[in-house]
Symmetry: C2
Subunit: 362 residues, 2 copies
């Protein structure tokens, strides 16, 4: 199935929702993908199950703090260079492109590279959401290494990292991000078709598109958020989706540190709930929601901020004082809540001193 | 001509002298080289002029703050891995090994790798001394790029950097040094035999050996420093060699910052000169000498600290309160004082706001 140019808008919006605040500005990613679709044609989207077991699959993504990403114009050349640098290093040509995560920018760039290369993009990713660090993908949970990994920038510079594990690959890449200009195009987790079938989370590009379409249809009926929550609850992954809170941003603090955007956002309720405060803490992505200090949702479950009127997902770097928004939470697929998985992206992996509790139990 | 095991001691000592405080502990480098000579045999040393024009020449060195280097045991595997990672990347097997600099550790490691590989080592280097940054070599002055460059560590991790110029290669490598464990084995400036003939400084390994031998012969006559200065003055490169000052270390300040050992050392004169203070400022290597505030020698000329009694060169990380030492200065070859060269390693390249003045004019 071709991904058409008009599919980019719903996919970008749905992925921005799944991105839980991270993954970069969906608008920028969409502009890049649109331009490259026009130039090179629309790419084919295939299911992971259609891959040959010995196909060579490469990931394409941008790495860096989203607040820096929006300041940079992302061109195609560095995305292409990241793939070719890794191809040259492994000695294997790419047969298909795989998204690492669903997030505004990082759902679009794999489509852009697939178009440039005339390669299919796989309807799957490594988390069905966005996460701030490289080792936080299902590929790593199931033993695929992030190394060898490539990084490339707009100056035609490239780096190959061959570290002992995925976490060390992340550490080394993160040290280089500032020197690469604050963000870089990357490729990592080079793997076979067989490995993709074993380790990727299938169907997530279609799901992003469905989420985007549920919002645009809902807008026509003036109920985008109701429509969105209904759609999510009907999917195989997000059956526990719910509204957590509605209110207005009272304060935001954020800083760029070690290549991440870190901070928190305080949302005050409206009307009879005006004494209540919901706090969302983020590290690129939203990690924790507390209502008057009480935990009500936590990573890896989805905590998504959307505009109260339009349902538009709001990324971390776009949060503004006075914004009216609705907080939506959803469970993640069971594969993302296994003990092995929670070691990599549960609350403790982000420095919190408590274990994961699913939203349906909070 | 074979480099014999018994040559290692004078070469290491002579290179430590030329290292002007930098290049790491010569004793550690010598231990590594001795062990690898015993295991793999003694390597051949050849002149740059003997190289085939299309030979593939690779540099071998350690990068990092010397104060960290002495804390780590340097094994052979990471040195070998740095070369093989670069060979794999360029697709060209090494035909010969070239030292980057003359310095305690970095004069020994190329010999060690040459032994491991059964390859010849070239009697030449990129500066005839030691410098703290990768772009500070004659190869770069004459247009050879440091990239592609490899880094490797004792965990079997490797990195390939392909940056737009030698200075950017240095910046990226330096960012990675801490994550690689404080120091790393490197290979860079991969070049042809023809390029080595055009850009390397010939004869520097022999020269280091001559310096080491002049010290050990001088010790037998109880005049190691006189013998050393006489020997230097008789070489084609260091005709202006002279004693600058003798005294005792009154204070030292140093810190490890950004992968470098930075600081200064104050030396008080003895006897009738006890009112005089000579200050040496260093960044891994000794850069500037001031006598009572007045400049008397500056980079790239050599500023070397040796023990007053034995003439043993003292590296930056080994400076100690109360040590009695003699400061010796020497000119560098004219090729190192050209305008193009001074842009890369003159005083301004190290952040000083004055131009280079040769020691013979100070």
């Amino acid at each position: 199935m071709k991904i058409r140019k008009q599919d980019l808008e719903p996919i970008a919006e749905g992925a921005a929702f799944l991105g839980t605040g991270g993954g970069g500005d969906p608008y920028i990613g969409r502009l890049v993908a649109e331009a490259l679709f026009e130039r090179y044609g629309e790419p084919e989207m295939i299911e992971a199950s259609e891959l040959d077991d010995d196909a060579n699959v490469y990931i394409s993504a941008m790495m860096g703090a989203p607040t820096v990403l929006v300041e940079k114009i992302i061109g195609g050349p560095e995305l292409d260079l990241a793939i070719s640098a890794l191809e040259k290093y492994t000695g294997r040509q790419a047969d298909a492109i795989l998204p690492a995560e669903m997030g505004g920018c990082n759902s679009m760039l794999p489509l852009a590279v697939a178009a440039m290369r005339g390669l299919p993009v796989i309807n799957a990713d490594g988390m069905g959401r966005a996460f701030p660090e490289l080792q936080m993908v299902s590929f790593n949970v199931h033993g695929v290494s992030a190394s060898p990994m490539s990084m490339a920038n707009e100056h035609g510079e490239s780096i190959i990292i061959n570290a002992r594990d995925s976490h060390e690959t992340e550490n080394k890449a993160r040290q280089l991000i500032i020197g690469m200009g604050g963000s870089a195009a990357i490729s990592c987790y080079p793997m076979s078709g067989a490995k993709v079938k074993q380790t990727a989370i299938p169907g997530t590009l279609s799901l992003a598109k469905g989420i985007g379409e549920s919002l645009s249809q809902g807008r026509k009926q003036n109920k985008p958020i109701d429509n969105l929550v209904d759609y999510l609850a009907g999917t195989k992954y997000y059956s526990q989706a719910r509204r957590l809170f509605s209110g207005k941003i009272e304060s935001i603090s954020n800083r760029v540190e070690g290549g991440f955007t870190l901070g928190e956002c305080h949302i005050r309720g409206i009307g009879e709930k005006s004494q209540q405060i919901l706090t969302v803490e983020f590290q690129n992505e939203n990690l924790i929601a507390r209502l008057d200090g009480q935990l009500i949702a936590m990573v890896p479950d989805l905590i998504c901020l959307v505009d109260t009127d339009t349902g538009t997902p709001i990324t971390t770097e776009a949060l503004k004082y006075g914004q009216r928004l609705c907080v939506i939470a959803a469970n993640v697929p069971p594969i993302m809540r296994s003990e092995k998985a929670l070691n990599i992206w549960g609350p403790r992996a982000f420095g919190y001193d408590f274990d994961f509790t699913p939203i349906e139990k909070l």
